[in-house]
Symmetry: C2
Subunit: 527 residues, 2 copies
């Protein structure tokens, strides 16, 4: 399957014959190359770097970042953006040009508005904060982390003030990851999600038929998991000619020049079969998005995904909507059973799929199911708003965290180590957690559109075909890279601005099916 | 073992308190970082890059090389070199400063004397030449390759003319790989090597007791070979905290910031046990040299080895002088036999070592033994001189090649594919082949010095110890990086300028021992 061919009528392209656009591209392509090489050095740092080389690699990355910063702040680039900004809306330019100017302007503004000293201070505080967090978590002592968190808050507020915002400081941070998103919009999108999740959890606990997930646990040797991961990626249409599957301590997707070099990793767990398989589907979703970006966009800031939320929509669509459906495992389960005949003796596809959909509140976000996952995110979102916009006292945060876990999930951490100190995310900054739940909402909305477009969706999938899904997503979404803002992109793909009801209906149907609850939803059910 | 600690009295350091030296270092360190990142991108290209990403990676490398070229030709650097050139010989500066200025001057001259257009043309001709060579070899048709070789000759002559030389154009090319070396010096160094090799080959063929090397062939599963390679590297003192062992189609050593990140690869061959083991020792020798470079020199052009010849001396010293000795395998062979008990049943360390030293003329350089190896090199050296300095007609070269093989090795290729077209080396340029034989000469001279310093050398080695060798090499040689020109370095290490008799004596003793010939040499014999 050639994944780089697109219909010439729909595939985006720049107006390269325009002198200003071609001048802009001549500045941006080397910058994209440097970014790709920087990403490669970071990937190597995560997968291969010897322990003793940490310092020299740090120097190499700092040099590269310095070279990039000089180019991102070049006056020639500023002048060109000024000039193009006044004309790019004219009809002689294309959407790709407008997206290019918009994305370049964002990066230029970030580079010029945040002084070097502030960026360096953030790196220093990030590193100190990471060390403090590690100690605080191991000693279960939030007080060790608190002063670093306070410094992070101060710096993040300065970032927001320098970048500017319409309503609240938090909007400026959100915009870094999800251009155009605001807390006001998020509040409206998240409220129904929170209510639905709480209600579903109550229904499961009172009326649900228990789900036995024991088939997912056992002894699953790693080579078999790697082979299965590879076969799932092939099934999705991931192109190994332009990618690679590797192992790393945490699964991730990385690209060094989309759509041509997009690599994924998984982290097989000998005791749990689902970790690597679900990671393959999740990272595979990210990777398909990058591999689907139009070749004409390569080596520019509009190659790849539109935002973190848009990206997460594709990992969730492939992992959850498709990859936790009965139709999907109808053909795939046989491969798993064949790889582990002893471990999965007596298990069928339906039991396996139900197990993958088991709901169980836990304290740890990364282990959460589809129902409770968003509660973890919304808790962090609400706390981040309180920290950045309000003036929530740092020392009050562990109590606030615990109270929210009790309210939203009915469980409470026994220690801060498994509560507010559970992960490293607040050693960096704020604003990207919400993109995870946004990704779920976008995914459900796109999934509903797909099912409307293909009334025989489940039959096709259960027949062992995913190519129609990938083709449609490519033509409707992937090919456009970051040309459109995420909100506009979702509207183009689905016909509507993002809204939460697709997700709440999807989740309700999924839970009712998995837990054999009486149907209340009017949404689709799973085949 | 801490490999970064050196005696403060002998470890080199720059006169950083000097304003000009510190300004120079401030320019050079980012350049070293960019070079390291470029090397990383090339390593990834050789070990991991998906096929579809060749073009985008090419663009990334071109961008990096452009950034480096701009910095290497910066007027500020030229001015600084002028100023330092007039004062650096004063006693207030150190050898490290002088080496730094010399090595920087070399790189600056290359960058400024070779115009961009010429460098790009060389890259284009190199790529075209590679394709033509591939076709010519597969069709056994030298005529397909001849016009490309002619273009390479023209370009290499232009390089020589632009860089300048005292005696002949070939000296300018040699100097690229072995600073200070000339054809006149090489002629004197190589003549005894050629004579000794020819004479030894005759003695082996007329009086030698046959060597049975069949124990090296069989079925040797790859994982065991990787474990053995790792254990040999550990035995030599290779530091895995600052390195890594991987597999690749051709073994090589690469560094991304010596002495902190020096990686080696091997290429196990299931049917021949010696390929991976000898590669581990060979690449391990290169790597020990890089890992031994003084930390103070890191991120500068004097970190790492002094020249290709100096580098090759270390790979040959560890692979051949040490790694093909009875004393070495006295303790190591047990590990090989343990890994492959069935394949090596009835084989002892002595038989194994003799097999590793078998001499057999062949047409292919990379498969050659220690006796015939240098004949392959000297043939190429003589031909390169004839091509670059003389005016040897391109079409006459296959005949010349075959005649030399008949003269020096007593065998003649039946086709150009296994003759002049056997490898890709003449698709690039000329001048580096001689460094392989130079490496053998340097290695033997250093080895003789080592044996004089440690009269119980064989006993210690046979007792399972290599640490005394590594320590001595580090203190005498590795720590100085590229501070000294290779000729001066060899004099510092051994007390004498390079000369060929150490090698001819070493080789004679080795052959007499392996083939049980009556001793004629006065050199050491192997325990």
């Amino acid at each position: 399957m050639d994944t780089t061919e697109h219909d010439a009528r729909t595939a985006p392209a720049f107006t390269e014959e325009d002198a200003r656009i071609s001048e802009l591209l001549a500045l941006l392509r080397p910058l994209a190359d440097l970014r790709a090489v920087n990403a490669l050095a970071e990937w190597d740092q995560n997968t291969a770097l010897p322990d003793g080389a940490a310092e020299v690699r740090g120097a190499q990355l700092a040099t590269l970042q310095g070279v990039m910063h000089d180019r991102w702040t070049a006056p020639q680039l500023g002048t060109l953006l000024e000039e193009l900004g006044t004309v790019v809306d004219q009809p002689k330019y294309r959407d790709a040009d407008r997206g290019l100017v918009r994305q370049t302007r964002r990066a230029y503004d970030h580079a010029t508005k945040l002084p070097r000293g502030l960026v360096e201070e953030m790196a220093r505080v990030g590193a100190g904060s990471f060390e403090a967090w590690r100690k605080a978590k191991s000693q279960n002592d939030f007080a060790l982390f608190a002063p670093w968190l306070a410094r992070t808050v101060t710096l993040q507020r300065e970032v927001a003030d320098r970048l500017g915002y319409a309503e609240t400081r938090y909007d400026a941070l959100l915009d870094l990851y999800e251009p155009g998103m605001t807390a006001t919009k998020l509040d409206a999108l998240f409220a129904p999600v929170r209510e639905t999740a709480t209600a579903l959890l109550r229904r499961i606990q009172t009326e649900g038929q228990p789900v036995d997930a024991s088939c997912l646990e056992g002894e699953f040797p790693v080579p078999g998991q790697m082979e299965l991961s590879e076969s799932l990626l092939r099934f999705m249409g991931y192109d190994f000619e332009r990618g690679q599957l590797a192992q790393s301590p945490h699964p991730f997707t990385v690209e060094f020049g989309s759509p041509y070099d997009v690599r994924v990793t998984v982290h097989p767990d000998k005791r749990f079969i689902q970790a690597a398989l679900m990671a393959a589907l999740h990272e595979g979703g990210h990777a398909l998005y990058e591999q689907g970006s139009a070749p004409a966009l390569t080596r520019t800031p509009v190659a790849g995904g539109a935002s973190m939320g848009a990206h997460e929509s594709q990992s969730r669509l492939w992992e959850n909507a498709i990859g936790r459906s009965q139709a999907f495992w109808h053909t795939r389960f046989a491969h798993v059973a064949e790889a582990y005949p002893r471990q999965l003796a007596g298990v069928d596809a339906e039991t396996f799929t139900r197990a993958l959909n088991r709901v169980r509140p836990s304290l740890i976000r990364i282990e959460a199911d589809e129902v409770t996952y968003n509660s973890h995110i919304i808790i962090r979102y609400e706390m981040e708003k309180a920290i950045v916009n309000g003036n929530a006292a740092i020392e009050s945060l562990p109590g606030l965290w615990n109270a929210k876990y009790r309210d939203y999930l009915g469980i409470e951490p026994e220690s801060d180590s498994e509560g507010i100190l559970q992960d490293i995310h607040w050693t960096g900054g704020f604003g990207y957690f919400p993109t995870y739940t946004l990704g779920n909402l976008y995914a459900a909305q796109i999934y509903a559109t797909l099912r409307k477009e293909f009334p025989d969706f489940d039959q096709r999938l259960a027949g062992g075909d995913t190519s129609f899904v990938l083709r449609w997503l490519r033509e409707r979404m992937y090919v456009f890279g970051a040309i459109y803002l995420p909100e506009a992109l979702i509207q183009r793909v689905t016909g509507e601005r993002p809204q939460p009801e697709y997700f709440t209906r999807y989740l309700t149907a999924k839970v009712e099916e998995t837990y054999r609850l009486p149907a209340t939803s009017h949404g689709h059910t799973h085949a």
